[in-house]
Symmetry: C2
Subunit: 324 residues, 2 copies
Amino acid sequence: MLPYNLLLAKVEEAISQLDFNLAPHELYDPISYTLALGGKRVRPVFTLLACDMMGGKIEEALQPAIACEIFHNFTLLHDDIMDNAPIRRGKETVFRKWNSNIAILSGDAMFATAYRLLSGIEPDLLPSILTIFSNTAIQVCEGQQYDMNFELVNTVSIPDYLNMIRLKTAVLPAACLQIGAMIAKAKMPDVEYIYQFGEKIGLAFQLMDDLLDVFGQEAKFGKQCGGDIIANKKTYLYLKAYELADIENKRKLDLLFSDIHIPDDEKIAGVKKIYETLEVANHVHRVMDELYINALQNLDRISVPEGRKSELLKFAKKLLSRES
Amino acid sequence: MLPYNLLLAKVEEAISQLDFNLAPHELYDPISYTLALGGKRVRPVFTLLACDMMGGKIEEALQPAIACEIFHNFTLLHDDIMDNAPIRRGKETVFRKWNSNIAILSGDAMFATAYRLLSGIEPDLLPSILTIFSNTAIQVCEGQQYDMNFELVNTVSIPDYLNMIRLKTAVLPAACLQIGAMIAKAKMPDVEYIYQFGEKIGLAFQLMDDLLDVFGQEAKFGKQCGGDIIANKKTYLYLKAYELADIENKRKLDLLFSDIHIPDDEKIAGVKKIYETLEVANHVHRVMDELYINALQNLDRISVPEGRKSELLKFAKKLLSRES
């Protein structure tokens, strides 16, 4: 099995070879900027890991892997406009550095570029992979819409929240694994198992992201800390806290999430204190553990020798430890 | 040959059968709203006309034709945000009726839906059609970016302007024809001739659109009249007028396009008067005629009996007479 670090290097190399030094530069500069910001390249590495694990040729999965990464970055450009996010990966977001129109249009061009990269997939596989890629893209849009909806309502159930993050963040890594497996000619039910593995890892990863948004270190995290709290995002932490809170803490949470005159730092500190009192982080870790076990069960079911699964498992573990 | 009205009816039927009654409705309602606004359905009818003309089965071109229409409507959603356009096809634009975030996200979902509709194309043709569709989408983004750039600069050359409208509005109808021809298994150079035919008709159509924006009737046109003038768009009319104007009229044009205190109606009337004095409309008609002749030359070159070309020709003529 190829070590994931090698696959990551192949992804970085392929991205660096993309040429966006094109006219009009107003359209292409933000694309180069975004792709150069880095990130963990989780999705394309997943595609290559799945392809390699299933015995395929990673060269055949490389362009589709890059398509997955470009698609993901496109969603970030548009999400950052909608979420009014100032910072991404430690740098100014595209709509802040340029403007919203540029971020919309460069995003659209990235979306089309992602699809163009799929066209090299062998014709027999292309229809089904095109369908999966498109359905996944639509699900990601649905997830983003639910996310925006949830900011405007008072109550969100925990299952609704989990479905939202499934759509917004977990189906894409799942589909990236599935596409890699399909390129390696893996068959059902293995492609379904690897999808499920990815979805569960994706969900766990998002819960960890929610946790780090409150308890992480800003420098390491690369995003503004407490951003979810400022944006009144009803994350798993908030929803669980609200479920566990007594009347007094519920009242405090309501106040912190509704009084627009409370300064951001006070709001973050107040919410954080309640989360700590209620030990919400422990609850999040418990759900993450369950998801991780479910992911492992799906990995177990895949009909390739255990030894072939080690790199994917290592990579997923590393992701969830957030050492990277 | 199937009459274009029948093909239009098939397009309308297929669009009406699309089901966007899905959750979250905030994402899907604007899609239903947009597709129900109508429009001339030029692009999907082009796809079907090209397929039929080249001897293909129009059933095989129907879903790709709808993909072209949905793609076109997606670009309108995003363009209307960027252009701050209040009205489209006589109704409120999506970003005005809902908001910008909804228009961004519903547009993205439409883009993905368009690609999903391509997945039914037979595997042998899919890679090349996917490439054409994606390259066209990227060109449309480039055109929109040039259009926005041109609003911010003082001088635009007429060739640069023509290249901008080629990208923004002519390559898509051209690609729609090409895709229809390819589905009918037409070969080079016929697919190139039909592309060129579409590009020239598309350019002529856009010049007519520029003309109608100034001299059209608002009710018939379905858009705010004089919108290009208010937005300081350097259309062919403006550029030609500036080329032909004496010092006095140049000064007036400069003033009208730079003084933000002139009320919109005065600005429109002032610019219109200069266009009339310089008989700019005649110049536009001349260029349109040249493009039309070029289009016909390309249609002539296509190696199918002349009789098979009549419906496409009739449809293009009708478009350029804007009786529809």
